[in-house]
Symmetry: C2
Subunit: 332 residues, 2 copies
């Protein structure tokens, strides 16, 4: 009987970098497949900022935490290698919440088939959580109008980079905030952003005023931190703030203070937080909205690919530091 590797969560990480010892790498026997089941060999795992929130219990969260001793939760893509389920054939490619595991035994529930011929990195970078999150946030809450200006934090991240490209395709002026000159160049030269701000070296407020002389109509928040204060300060009346992520605060001992609310009244701002599980019922609609942009070549992506299951642990910490250049994917 052959074995495979999985990684379990065995302790709750304290705020800050996630130490390797909260995980346990385990060997398991490849299970036998019973009636109604399929066995999936995972080929690509997605690493997403939301995973950091899933590692600790939180009464406020939209999703229960990963139980201690359970396989770490993640989404991914794999191939059906055995099937006793009439809905799936050997060779089918499927995606879903596969977890940190080389093999997954499933009754098929929650797994979606992936069209043959679609590149796995493209699927996980665009048609999985990042693209759907970007589509819901921008169109479901941002109410973008041609000629308006959108400012995006974490703009080189998996969600931010797609939000910016969709907004550009809709005729908005798009300004991205990222953490390196290399990322800023990528946003402007490769993705067609109108401007980019390096929050580590630029005077953020001055740069927003320079790049958005008409003010900011939509602020798409992926990071938290000081950028949000400058964004609110530079917003136009009836501005919309879409709060998608707060990666800079997720692992902070003390989360940073938010902006004072007086401008929210004066400028009649709407701030909307969201999380994708609320929108899974509209998945088909979201895919339908996103697909034409992708087919017209308007959504470029880049994947930052790590090799081997255990590289996922370092990968999670890259999300915290912004050390990744592109959508983090672990290739198995």
């Amino acid at each position: 009987m052959s074995t495979y590797t999985a990684i379990n969560l065995i302790a709750r990480p304290a705020p800050g970098p996630i130490p390797a010892n909260v995980f346990e790498v385990v060997k398991k026997d490849v299970p036998s497949v019973e009636d109604g089941q399929i066995l999936v060999k995972q080929t690509h795992m997605s690493l997403d900022p939301a995973m950091i929130g899933w590692m600790n219990p939180d009464p406020e969260s939209y999703i229960p935490p990963v139980a201690l001793g359970d396989v770490m939760r993640s989404s991914g893509l794999g191939e059906v290698v055995e099937s006793q389920n009439p809905g799936f054939a050997v060779g089918d490619r499927v995606m879903g919440m596969t977890g940190w595991s080389e093999y997954i035994l499933s009754n098929g529930e929650g797994l979606r088939k992936v069209q043959p011929g679609l590149d796995a990195e493209m699927v996980l970078s665009v048609f999985a959580l990042p693209g759907l999150t970007a589509t819901q946030g921008l169109f479901g809450f941002g109410n973008p109008k041609p000629g308006e200006t959108i400012l995006i934090s974490g703009a080189a991240g998996s969600v931010g980079s797609i939000v910016g490209q969709l907004a550009k395709a809709e005729g908005l002026d798009v300004i991205g905030v990222a953490g390196s000159d290399e990322k800023c160049k990528w946003l402007v030269n490769d993705l067609g952003f109108d401007g980019a701000i390096n929050y580590k070296s630029d005077d953020i407020d001055a740069k927003i005023k320079e790049l958005a002389p008409k003010g900011v109509d939509i602020y798409f928040e992926n990071t938290g931190g000081p950028i949000q204060h400058h964004a609110i300060d530079n917003m136009n009346a009836h501005g919309r703030v879409v709060v998608c992520g707060m990666i800079s605060d997720y692992a902070a001992e003390t989360p940073s203070a938010g902006p004072n609310w007086i401008p929210i009244i004066k400028k009649r701002i709407t701030i909307q937080g969201y999380a994708m599980p609320d929108h899974f019922p509209q998945l088909a609609e979201l895919v339908g909205k996103l697909t034409p942009y992708v087919m017209q070549g308007k959504v470029k992506y880049r994947a930052h690919v790590l090799e081997g299951l255990e590289s996922a642990i370092d990968g999670l910490n890259m999300l915290l530091t912004g050390g990744n250049n592109g959508k983090l994917i672990v290739k198995l």
Copy 2:
């Protein structure tokens, strides 16, 4: 030729209490009324928190500041004492942006007639800015549902007290935050609130948890300050925050820090700032929504009446300290 008194704004107040020397009390000649004009003798002036924002230029504001040397801006109610305008007869009662002045010469624009028989204090406390602001905020943005819980800061204020009564009439659990035991008793015993919190003496967080065991669905913000942090902490998923006023911060040297945004994502909270000038086109609709509640005796009010034009100066400062008990009205 007889004279009358008006008060001009002659300097911009610094943050903090508003000193009397930013105003100048002036004597003017009662003007002659020309074709198309009316002369209104003001009987009651309304003092509202928004007025503090009108005293300083602010590029972010929804309304230009009062120009230096101009009569201080305010709303009020009066009686037509002379008319050369076919739309108004001597004896008509009118309300509008009358300003700090015993007499107003007008072409009638922006003045609305007031039904005879309606008590002036009731009109300014319920059917003027406070009631319309409460109606727009609660129904236009709060999306109240029977059985939900609403928490209201500045609950004994002119807007908050009406918001709470409208919510109560809609079948919500209503909790008010106010600054004295007397105000808290008034909210519960006279207005029918389900609970009240004295922010000066109660443990705000513990008291919210005690009075709102199911959590808070709507937070109606009139004050700013620490209450908003506790409100966000105790909010339910899909909670709505309606940001109507930030009186505790309007005159502060350094506005207080807002809450961190992580709970906005986790609980998918909507925060909506608003200002009434945006909603003046829907005035008739708002009055129509509010009137049935008033006619059924569901909206009680109390007026805090000051006597004489010059008492308005102290009155403005009462709004900053919460020194008023009820809707501030200056009787001329």
